[in-house]
């Protein structure tokens, strides 16, 4: 069942389950893709730069880690909803609305995963030897070239860890999503939200258990995959 591609799972999964699974993967993937540049930028800023308000920025980034997810969902609703002060502006300029849409779920996932990704990348950048960057500069490399050819490749293990953590956190995201974009099948109802609906409905314990098994399988699968990728990357960085 694990190895079967999604289109063949139609026979194994109900349409409803398949919808939730596809949506979960889509939301988590987009969340990670959007997070990555911010994660690298913020991680690098915190690891390598000294500036006024650095500790404030650091605290802000970590806030989603300590705030109850429902609070984050509420704040997103106020700020990024169609009537929210940023959301309104976004809608006017780009025609994009986050409310009650899968994009809102991506945003909620990205916000709660941000601290995990930044932490992993920051630690990894801090462990890159500054002496190597100095050596590269004496060889005529500009700051950008040093970053792209030395810092970034040597940070790759941390980036992989960050991607994995953010992806896992996004798959499991529940509180912020349900309070921000509600629980709409096919639009914002990811696996955790679908499972919540089944648990609320009497007589659907079996359906909830099936979703539980699906959850465990994707979680295990992504863990194994990330383990394999990070081992490859680590070996590459150590020079094999």
């Amino acid at each position: 069942m694990v190895s079967a591609p999604i289109w063949e799972m139609k026979s194994l999964l109900t349409e409803y389950e398949l919808m939730a699974l596809q949506l979960s993967l889509k939301v988590a993937t987009y969340s990670v893709i959007w997070l990555l540049p911010f994660g690298i930028l913020l991680g690098w800023l915190l690891a390598r730069k000294e500036f006024i308000g650095k500790s404030v920025l650091d605290s802000l980034i970590h806030l989603p880690l300590v705030l109850p997810p429902v609070v984050i969902g509420y704040l997103l609703l106020i700020a990024m909803g169609r009537q929210g002060f940023i959301g309104q502006w976004f809608y006017d300029w780009f025609g994009i609305s986050f409310s009650f849409s899968w994009r809102g779920a991506v945003l909620a996932c990205a916000v709660v995963s941000l601290p995990l990704m930044v932490r992993a990348i920051r630690l990894s950048i801090e462990s890159v030897d500054l002496k190597l960057e100095q050596a590269a500069r004496t060889l005529g490399a500009s700051s950008l070239k040093v970053f792209l050819t030395i810092t970034l490749p040597l940070t790759l293990p941390g980036i992989v860890t960050g991607i994995m953590l953010a992806f896992a956190r996004s798959l499991g995201e529940f509180g912020a999503t349900i309070s921000f974009v509600s629980n709409i099948p096919g639009e914002t109802q990811t696996i955790p939200l679908a499972m919540f609906s089944f648990l609320e409905t009497p007589g659907q314990e079996m359906a909830a258990a099936r979703l539980c098994i699906i959850s465990i399988i994707i979680a295990l699968g992504s863990l194994l995959l990330s383990e394999w990728v990070s081992r490859k990357v680590r070996r590459k960085v150590a020079g094999a």
Partner: protein, 374 residues
């Protein structure tokens, strides 16, 4: 038009000490920066490379100003075109040797690449990764990487210090070859007298953040400044000379200091006409009042005593150092006993003969120098 020079003059307040250096050396050959650990040697080349910004001063190489606090000029590290060989090789772990070597290459130049790879014997290593290299191999790659960026000056920060003795012996011949073949100025930081003797043409001595001596190595070597580093047995004189001819039958080589002043030493493997630097230990020099013809000693030179120094390295180590003028600005040191001094009634201004056995100077006391110091 003045000769190309490396002019360094700056002040820097460090955490524990202050550094105020000022020296000018010719932009040619190897200049050793010598001093105790913590004297500020590395800080000097860091300032030249731009990795460290001084508080004030001026740094000028071949007429190009890299730093000038008055003009508020501070060329970025990557634009200074310096080659830097660090104490720890600092190879990029995720690149192969080949990619490490090519990292600083601006315009591909296969001929030059082949030359450097040949000079440092890197051919076998090109496809390996830094973690599979020995310490000596890493350092050779690091030197190659710096040279391939075609720098205007090569800075070397104790490149042998992190290596054990066998690795040092392995890398040293490459450095000697480098000294003869590379025509850019090299600043070589070291606290090893042995390395300096073999490699350097000029010497800058740093003590407590100040330059205490600067000049040609022969001059600085014989000056008072070097005395604390030369122990009782190590007192010696340095000369630059040219190989005049070989005597294959006896296994000897004749060196010419200048017209009319020659010297026989054990055979040296180098072509006649090569420039060499020669170390003569003061313990190997003896004094006689007359010139004897029936003696085994091959080198007898007329000299004049210009200074007498008494040395006391403890009660059981009393000796006298004589500074002998060989004329033409060359000085030879001789260590003798006080007994001999009293019996021969030696005094300053006396004309005597210095005798040096031909066998006492061998290949290890002679360094080939590509650059003829004036």
């Amino acid at each position: 038009m003045t000769n190309p020079q490396v002019e360094v003059e700056f002040y820097k307040q460090m955490e524990s000490a202050e550094l105020a250096v000022n020296f000018t050396v010719p932009a040619q050959g190897i200049t050793a920066i010598f001093g105790r650990s913590g004297a500020g040697k590395t800080t000097i080349i860091n300032a030249i490379s731009g990795l460290l910004v001084p508080d004030r001063g001026k740094i000028n190489i071949n007429g190009m100003t890299l730093y000038d606090s008055q003009d508020k000029r501070n060329v970025a590290v990557e634009k200074r075109n310096v080659g830097y060989v660090f104490q720890e090789s600092r190879l990029f772990p995720h690149f192969s040797v080949q990619r490490n070597l090519n990292y600083g290459v601006k315009k591909p130049d296969n001929l030059y690449f082949e030359e450097i790879v040949g000079l440092l014997d890197l051919k076998e290593l090109l496809n390996r990764y830094p973690r599979d290299l020995s310490g000596g191999e890493k350092q050779r790659v690091a030197i190659g990487r710096a040279l391939l960026s075609k720098p205007d000056i090569l800075l070397m920060d104790e490149p042998l210090a992190s290596l054990d003795l066998p690795r040092k012996r392995e890398v040293m011949p490459f450095l000697e070859k480098l000294a003869q073949r590379i025509c850019i100025p090299i600043l070589y930081v070291s606290h090893s007298l042995n390395e300096i003797l073999r490699l350097a043409d000029h010497l800058v001595v740093i003590d407590k953040g100040r330059v205490v001596a600067c000049g040609g190595i022969e001059d600085v070597w014989s000056s008072q400044v070097m005395r604390p580093w030369q122990s009782f047995h190590e007192q010696s004189s340095l000369f630059s000379a040219q190989i005049a001819k070989h005597n294959l039958e006896y296994g000897l080589t004749q060196l010419k200091f200048r017209e009319g002043l020659t010297f026989w030493v054990q055979q040296i493997s180098a072509e006649p006409g090569s420039n060499v630097r020669l170390q003569i230990r003061a313990n190997d020099v003896s004094i006689s009042l007359e010139k004897y013809d029936n003696t085994s000693i091959r080198n007898i030179l007329p000299v004049r005593i210009v200074a007498i120094e008494h040395q006391h390295d403890g009660a059981d180590k009393k000796s006298v150092n004589l500074k002998l003028d060989m004329k033409g600005g060359c000085y030879l040191w001789a260590t003798i006993t006080r007994w001999a001094l009293d019996e021969l009634k030696l005094c300053e201004g006396m004309d005597v003969y210095a005798q040096i056995k031909g066998v006492s100077v061998s290949q290890k006391d002679v360094a080939l120098t590509g650059y003829q110091s004036q």
